[in-house]
């Protein structure tokens, strides 16, 4: 697994380097700006979390330019371990995105005060970012094994749209359960439902992807 994670890391690193620099500059701008209107912080947080996750799964395309995907199958690793390494890499890069976003939000609060109406807004922001990233990964990995790395771009867009759509759909569903205005407990409960659903779909996507990958020929 260590070798596979290293492999995924090297594949993602060049894009992540560029993305990190952009996010760093954007972060400095966001932190420097007055946060009376929180849309900048919201945008920055979501961009960080989803952006890092997106970079992680987009790097799969870089492997298909060579015979490395085929070579890996001949190495002493199970196909399930290869799939697992992709899922872990996404989670690790999502965590990196959360750290980036969290640092930006914390610095902004330190310098300009709390920008949101309620404390639960920060939690919901994390839920939306994590939810979209996890749903995106859950859709992307089986698709890429089913359709091949050469269709990476299409699957990337489809899975990102699916991620956004699923989170929005769930949020709409939860809002219809709890009549407005929602209490903080109801908001946290709703957020937890989105988070658990995303984690569940992400976890269920793993055996499905393994099943598809076992049938894949190189």
């Amino acid at each position: 697994m260590r070798g596979l994670l290293k492999n995924n890391f090297y594949a993602t690193l060049p894009n992540v380097k560029v993305f990190s620099v952009i996010m760093l500059l954007l972060g400095i701008f966001v932190v420097a700006m007055d946060n009376k209107i929180p849309s900048l912080i919201i945008g920055y947080t979501l961009l960080c979390m989803i952006g890092f996750s997106l970079n992680s799964i987009a790097s799969l395309r870089r492997e298909c330019a060579t015979k490395w995907s085929k070579y890996k199958i001949t190495a002493p690793v199970k196909r399930s371990a290869i799939v697992r390494s992709y899922f872990w890499s996404l989670l690790l890069w999502l965590a990196a995105g959360m750290i980036f976003a969290g640092t930006g939000v914390a610095l902004s609060i330190l310098l300009h005060g709390f920008p949101f109406d309620k404390n639960t807004d920060i939690f919901m922001l994390l839920v939306v970012g994590t939810g979209i990233s996890l749903f995106m990964g859950a859709v992307f990995f089986p698709l890429i094994y089913l359709g091949g790395e050469e269709r990476n771009e299409v699957f990337l867009v489809v899975s990102l749209l699916c991620g956004i759509g699923l989170v929005m759909g769930l949020a709409t569903l939860i809002n219809s359960f709890f009549p407005a205005p929602m209490t903080p407990v109801q908001i946290v409960l709703g957020g937890m439902m989105i988070l658990v659903s995303a984690l569940l779909v992400f976890a269920l996507s793993y055996p499905l992807t393994v099943c598809i990958s076992r049938k894949r020929e190189y």
Binding site: G3, A65, Y71, Y218
Partner: protein, 288 residues
């Protein structure tokens, strides 16, 4: 004699391309080098895919080290070194990063041995693989395949991108590898002169079918080609003819026992035959 690799009636059909690998059967004993020859699209890479489980065979058995290999047989894959034609590794790596990844994949990865090969093959460790020449990428792949102490090397056109000097160096490396009696190599190649230099056995395939497997010594010392006129050709015993090919004014006939053919057909010129010529006669020639 014990075999390191055994294929029995291995078949695979690709419905989209209409290509079928049919009943592929051959084996490699421990300590031997098997040359695997065939024209482009003959099924060499498919056969190697079936051996390594990158392609799922429809039927037949492939035994490695006496056992069928499944996805779960990690230990078995530790003992196999693979080199594919072209880019084996992502171009954005350098040799040092490659070593780091391989170290995490193979428990028997020998970093010192890999470094030794890098120096021996003049491969810069910090340079990105994408800026390597084709020859350098092939040498890197060979170094990586050897650096985890495999018992079986499977080389799919591994010498294709190398110039004659480099190829000769690599052939020496392969010969050194099989000095250990439990080491073997399956070398698929178009360059039959390489196989003549190092192979112990040669397997010919065409259109997904096995044409023949023979020891190289048998091919070089016993096989021969008779240069016949049409009238002489018509007088030949069909049992003696393995394959024949019509040229402008003569018919070349491949026979498996040159000395016997010389005794039997005294008026026909009989020449020694190269692996290249055998391949041409088997692939392009006709059968009786």
């Amino acid at each position: 004699m014990e075999n390191i690799l055994e294929l029995q009636q291995v078949s695979k059909t690709f419905p989209k391309s209409d290509f079928t690998l049919e009943n592929m059967t051959f084996s490699i004993p421990y300590g031997a080098i098997m040359g695997f020859v065939g024209e482009n699209g003959a099924g060499k890479t498919t056969t190697i895919g079936c051996i390594l489980n990158t392609v799922r065979k429809d039927s037949g058995t492939v035994k490695l080290f006496g056992k069928e290999m499944t996805d779960a047989d990690i230990g078995m894959r530790e003992k196999i070194g693979v080199v594919y034609d072209g880019d084996n590794f992502p171009g954005y790596w350098n040799a040092r990063q490659l070593s780091g990844v391989m170290e995490g994949l193979y428990t028997s990865w020998d970093h010192a041995l890999f470094q030794k090969y890098l120096e021996e093959f003049h491969l810069p460790a910090k340079q990105k693989i994408t800026s390597y020449s084709k020859g350098m990428t092939m040498k890197l792949a060979i170094a990586a395949a050897l650096a985890h102490h495999p018992q079986l090397l499977i080389l799919d056109e591994a010498t294709g991108g190398l110039d004659p000097v480099m190829r000769d160096e690599m052939l020496d490396v392969f010969l050194e590898f099989v000095q250990e009696e439990n080491h073997s190599i399956l070398l698929s190649s178009h360059i039959t002169s390489d196989l003549e230099k190092i192979a112990d056995y040669i397997t010919f395939i065409q259109n997904g079918r096995l044409i023949m497997t023979a020891s190289k010594n048998d091919l070089v010392y016993n096989y021969a080609v008779m240069r016949c006129k049409e009238s002489q050709f018509l007088a030949l015993d069909p049992k003696d003819i393995l394959a024949y090919r019509k040229r402008d004014f003569q018919i070349d006939v491949l026979v498996s026992d040159g000395k016997e053919a010389q005794r039997k057909y005294k008026d026909i010129v009989t020449d020694h035959v190269s692996v290249d010529e055998i391949m041409l006669l088997l692939v392009k020639g006709e059968r009786v």
